[in-house]
Symmetry: C2
Subunit: 202 residues, 2 copies
């Protein structure tokens, strides 16, 4: 059977999206076909508006609809803390935790030479420029992911930033909250042991 | 942090799509934000074109950009075979198998009273009307899925269609090709045993 061309095109476009394989793309295409015209138009307009409104914060490269993002513009944030994350989604996740009140710097990726992501592709140069003007007591928290690439990125930044003589730190490793020891992998368990903290003297 | 409104809206729209949870929606939104404007416009146009071009075949309710779909319009198809499937995607899957040369009838769903899907929501009435005019030697293959709902739909159709005195059949159960017995569930294994065919007299 000849599948209608506009359906083929739609499936092809959808399967380009991350995490959507050919089967999900087909399912999505049929789902979209079944939705009322108004819903499709609303989706399309939302997409076009987001594309038009959003850009990167000139200071921290977070996604924003303003010149300077809501975090950078907030006078209540602790400017002596800069947390370096890989993606804007990581920033949102940290904000949701409610445990952090400092500023951010979004790299927009992690070092991944196998996939052609070198330091020039990340917002590392603007980070260096930004750190030139901060006071000596500023703490830079390296909060890249704990994957091989995230670790490599953290290590690279550590070497790059050490000469600046600021306070450098790395987010803690350990067991996820609600996690049973039995199911944790040995590397995580090892890190959780090494990173243990004393309870008596708290 | 206040997440930009257009980003919140986009994430909300995307998380309405089937199989896309809030986290995937956020990931997708950031991905779309990072794509060039032309790519977003192409996606949007493809979506709008598909929505405009596509509709249901007047005969079998397959998705098509013509009045009568490519399968129904093909003079080489065996009109004495009508395969009843749940979704247009099932039709495409069967077409890909290359094992079927008859016609189809797409129900657009399965009976699922728990989720409010009753027989009126499916294209069952048009199927009955269609079968009123077919020759007595026509075979109706019930190819709904082998889930509880798919079975219920098949059973319902069986009872409904039996008085029409046509040849009714159900697709075969058994082991998937390439499947090891060890990993098959017991129900499938049981069905595979019951449905065994003799090799000697082939």
């Amino acid at each position: 059977m000849k599948v209608p061309n506009s359906l083929v095109q739609l499936i092809r476009e959808l399967s380009r999206l991350p995490g959507i394989g050919p089967k999900s793309a087909q399912k999505l295409a049929f789902y979209l076909f079944e939705q009322p015209k108004e819903d499709i138009e609303r989706l399309v307009n939302t997409l076009l508006e987001a594309k038009q409104d959003l850009h990167l914060c000139v200071r921290c490269f977070n996604v924003t609809d303003l010149e300077v993002c809501a975090v950078c513009a907030d006078p209540k944030r602790d400017t002596a803390l800069i947390c370096v994350v890989e993606e804007p989604g990581d920033l949102i996740a940290l904000e949701r935790s409610g445990e952090y009140s400092g500023l951010y710097h979004v790299l927009h990726g992690r070092l991944d030479p196998m996939n052609g992501i070198s330091q020039d592709r990340l917002y590392i140069k603007p980070l260096l420029e930004r750190l030139r003007d901060v006071p000596q007591n500023t703490e830079i928290i390296l909060a890249t992911s704990t994957t091989v690439e995230g670790e490599a990125t953290s290590l690279y930044l550590e070497r790059l930033l050490t000469p600046l003589n600021l306070h450098l730190s790395r987010i803690a490793y350990g067991l996820p909250v609600g996690g049973a020891l039995e199911y944790a992998d040995e590397v995580t368990l090892g890190r959780a042991m090494t990173g243990r903290h004393s309870l008596g003297k708290r």
